[in-house]
Symmetry: C2
Subunit: 377 residues, 2 copies
Amino acid sequence: MKNLPTALVGQPVDAIDTPALVIDLDAMERNLTAMAAFAKQHGMRLRPHAKMHKSAVLAKLQIAAGAVGVCVQKTAEAEALAAGGVHNIYISNEVIDPAKLARVAALAQQLAALGGRLAIAVDSLQGVQRLAAAFSGMAPGLIDVLVEIDVGQGRCGLPPGAAAVPLVQAIARHAPLQFAGLQAYHGRAQHFRTLAERRAAIEQVGQDVRRTVAALQAAGHAVPLVTGAGSGTFLLEAASGVYGELQAGSYLFMDRDYASNEPDPAQPRFEHALFVKSQVISRCASHAVVDAGHKSHAIDSGLPAVHGLALSYGNGGDEHGILTGDALPELGDTVWLIPGHCDPTVNLHGVMIGVRGGLRQGVVEQIVRVDARGALT
Amino acid sequence: MKNLPTALVGQPVDAIDTPALVIDLDAMERNLTAMAAFAKQHGMRLRPHAKMHKSAVLAKLQIAAGAVGVCVQKTAEAEALAAGGVHNIYISNEVIDPAKLARVAALAQQLAALGGRLAIAVDSLQGVQRLAAAFSGMAPGLIDVLVEIDVGQGRCGLPPGAAAVPLVQAIARHAPLQFAGLQAYHGRAQHFRTLAERRAAIEQVGQDVRRTVAALQAAGHAVPLVTGAGSGTFLLEAASGVYGELQAGSYLFMDRDYASNEPDPAQPRFEHALFVKSQVISRCASHAVVDAGHKSHAIDSGLPAVHGLALSYGNGGDEHGILTGDALPELGDTVWLIPGHCDPTVNLHGVMIGVRGGLRQGVVEQIVRVDARGALT
């Protein structure tokens, strides 16, 4: 069975079968415009992380609004978006498997033939060597290679400073590989609740990046670009003076979790634009049960919020949510949920239903396919 | 892009691209046999919950081993498995939406025409009325209807006792609806860690069920069947004297979480049969990073365990896991993960790679499609 869309273009919101992932297109477009304006105003390149929406149509919308291209985390995501017409893609992650690297090389050639470009991150000499082996004999400068440094995320990346030098030297020894700069992403900092904590974290990031750039320059290597940042901190990276490119992606839909942050007054205001439409399927005196559980929305960043109602959502398992509160909805009622984390929520759905005119009176305008759903490899 | 299988039938385990969901077919078949033998020995009907594997091929394997049919939670899951040749299906959940109920009625007719049968749960008079409206004018006894009582799960279901009587009376007024018994599932009890806690919980469940059966009998309604139970407690339900049918599903793959339970010495031993194959893509002095994050495995019941190695898995986001421990694996090494909860893990994948001969030396024998992946409605 294909997971068919749960509504038809032209139908009213009421007709959308539940549970379904719904985009408020008006809110999304305001977010799109606000971020594009911010990047332009601050002279920053914008390369949104498409791991958030996984959709070629939305990636192309971001590029049309001024983005230079998109980031992804996996080779299969890059392949899926490229197939949908996205021609400038950065795999902001390490790839080690030779069979995957052969796919990376094939994709780089396909994109170059279309006037596009592929980039990838590395954080080990072995990674550079395997990448070079996969690109052996190919055109000079075919792929942009960014060296990842760990600026606080505690995941991939070299320690900041001189450790990057041998990698950049190794990249320089292979003609098809073009050293393009540093990948420096502190994802956790985005969820530090106070502005002061986020400021302190990104200040440290700035120091780490400067130290690495200095070490590379001392070894004779210019650093064309520093890329990173997310929707919770991008103002700080933009103001740091070291970043040239912002990777924020969540701004387009806005996770519930970001709403828990103390806001930065200088930051553009983004709206929640992604919702799970659900229905009450059981109701007793103490609670109501909706038909959307953690198979409809990811819970890694907490449970969803209930949109517009003073209700609390409790986890009822894969297929159920337990609503409690003073004014419980009735059997059959619609309840809109705001997911805690958009990226893995989108991954649970085959399509997103784009609605124009709001969640109450709106009409289905567009069915947005999740092209890179489940693109894990 | 379709999510293509990451290996070909006939290839060795080493060739499986990562991350990938892999079934140890030998272990799975031992689990299959052990549960079938248990049900037969105890004179219980077995109706495994197919929300676990979501696969028509595996459902048919369970039926061939003696199961009477399978359970699912959603109409779309029933449709997906029916399309794959599973003809006896119980939607052990409430359906309230008239458009969905029309699909339920259509499916009941299709299955009946194939000599099969559909069943569904209800927990409200409105639910019975809407179900009856959808089946209006159809053949007598076309669908089995089970009344759900809440025996401790705190989710759907009527309070145990006399509340079920008006529902059974209402069902009796509509010829196409056949009252088939009680749905009584205490899912949370399966994860109570000590045997004593689980015993006490299921003893209470038994009392609740008996009280409900007595109320129905006093009102002149026989209760043909009580159905429920899961892989963590089914021995206790089987021994209770009130259950006629077991819904355990996880036994086939065995979640990591069940391994945290104090074992019941009388229970058949089940083995972990579902794994995520992952690869180390980054390595530093303090940790190794694998390419499987919570987009590869569900984390609602905790993070995965690392199979066969004294390593700890930390959450590294959608696409990464952070391994720590004394003997860290090297860049490029394979690491096998045991998911905390199989059901939503399977939902993240398009296929499962069935391996014969073990995870070290085995060969890909079968690509098992996740037919009901994302079947939310």
